[in-house]
């Protein structure tokens, strides 16, 4: 059963060393308030899973700058120079994963699948150390499931049953991360009564969501 709470009630649930999946694509669709509160909490040693590491002052990047991340699993780190700097200094481990493979590994983690076969990365460094399987004459890399202890996701609207509506390009990794984490905290701009969201319009089913917080950016 979903609970509507204040950020100070949920941030203590994120503890040192956790793997935390954070939604967003270059900070669009990232729960900025939750990230800010996490920065203030000074929780440390996190493994962060996200499409990218945002910008130094926006999105997931703020947690890199504040040095709360020991490992980042992402497809792109180029927009945040701090990530590369810490990686080169040996202070941060970065696992670069092709974007579509990252999505599928999370989907496997959330969908009870033991892995996925993808042609992406064949013949590149991404294939190093991975099993190559041939199916019907076509080679594929075996990519393994990825899960997080917690997911911090963003949606435009929630109802009081936890159903979420993501809008435009702000969905990105948020729905799949809601599947692939033990604890799911959604930051939303607006909360409406149960029943006000058409069932057909739900992007993330409420049964996946544990906590909802308001972003403070709602109209």
């Amino acid at each position: 059963m979903v609970k509507i709470v204040k950020t100070e009630d949920v941030i203590p649930l994120i503890t040192d060393g956790m793997a935390v999946a954070i939604g967003g694509f270059l900070a669009v669709g990232t729960p900025e308030l939750l990230v800010d509160q996490l920065v203030d909490s000074q929780v440390t040693g996190l493994t962060v899973i996200g499409n990218d590491t945002g910008f130094p002052d926006k999105g997931i990047g703020k947690l890199i700058v504040s040095r709360q991340v020991k490992k980042a699993i992402a497809s792109h780190i180029g927009t945040n120079p701090e990530t590369g700097k810490q990686m080169n200094a040996g202070e941060l481990t970065v696992e670069l994963v092709p974007q579509g493979t990252l999505a599928e590994r999370l989907r496997c983690g959330g969908a009870g699948l033991g892995g996925v076969l993808t042609p992406t990365g064949l013949g590149t460094v991404v294939a190093e150390g991975k099993e190559v399987l041939t199916v019907a004459g076509q080679e594929y890399l075996l990519e393994t499931p990825l899960r997080a202890d917690a997911a911090l996701i963003k949606a435009a609207v929630a109802d009081k049953s936890g159903n979420l509506v993501c809008r435009r390009a702000a969905a990105n990794f948020n729905p799949v991360m809601a599947m692939a984490a033990d604890l799911v905290i959604a930051e939303v701009d607006k909360i409406v009564e149960t029943g006000e969201i058409e069932p057909d319009h739900v992007t993330v089913p409420g049964i996946l969501v544990d906590y909802i917080v308001l972003s403070g950016k709602g109209a």
Partner: protein
């Protein structure tokens, strides 16, 4: 006409009515400005929609950006989806074409465009999925690097984005197609000789019997 415009204009001639296409950052993005009259394409944006178009700056929706985080818009008939669907479309062969830049490309159709060891490691983003899934992969880039170093090589030296994935190379000097035997020079830019292309290219290539001048629309 500068080098980038030549490249973008030529790539635009490859688009067919009804195509679904992903344009990478930089010169590939410029291709959208030169799509021929009467050709309607759906541009795919890997952050989660089709129907990408540029904005005039009047109405900026913070939830709509292109894959480079620049403000964008969605045309009527477009559709939004999450990253799983976005990359299922890419990997599943639902994109007719992807156009990307390159650091290096070689005569076996190998592409390197995501890192320079010891210098810059931005990450592959969606590029590895795009080159493995799109039906046609076009490299759109200036023929040589700054300073004149060849970028079309016998063998890539940088970590690959994809192995044997490139179908066509369009530069400010020439157009090559890639087949099982290697590169074939099919077109040269106006005023550019085969010898000039050879001088700027490290890779071996055949010259098409029907070699023609590049069409710029």
């Amino acid at each position: 006409m500068d080098a980038k415009e030549i490249i973008a204009r030529r790539v635009a001639q490859e688009l067919h009515d009804g195509n679904v296409v992903n344009l990478g950052i930089g010169i590939p993005t410029m291709v959208a400005d030169y799509i021929p009259e009467g050709i309607h394409v759906m541009l795919h944006s890997e952050n989660g929609f089709i129907g990408l178009t540029s904005v005039d700056g009047e109405f900026l929706d913070p939830d709509i950006v292109n894959a480079g985080a620049k403000p964008a818009a969605i045309i009527p008939g477009g559709a939004c989806f999450d990253s799983v669907m976005s990359f299922a479309l890419i990997r599943g062969g639902h994109l007719d074409m992807t156009v990307l830049g390159a650091l290096e490309v070689d005569q076996r159709g190998n592409l390197a465009n995501w890192m320079v060891p010891g210098k810059i490691v931005p990450g592959m983003g969606g590029a590895m999925d795009l080159v493995s899934g799109a039906k046609k992969v076009i490299v759109a880039m200036e023929h040589t690097a700054k300073g004149g170093a060849a970028k079309i090589l016998k063998k890539c030296t940088l970590p690959l984005t994809g192995q044997g994935v490139v179908n066509m190379i369009v530069t400010n000097l020439a157009v090559f197609t890639v087949n099982d035997n290697g590169l074939v020079l099919t077109e040269t830019a106006p005023g550019v000789s085969v010898a000039a292309v050879q001088a700027a290219t490290e890779a071996d290539f055949a010259v098409d019997a029907a070699l023609k001048q590049m069409s710029l629309g």
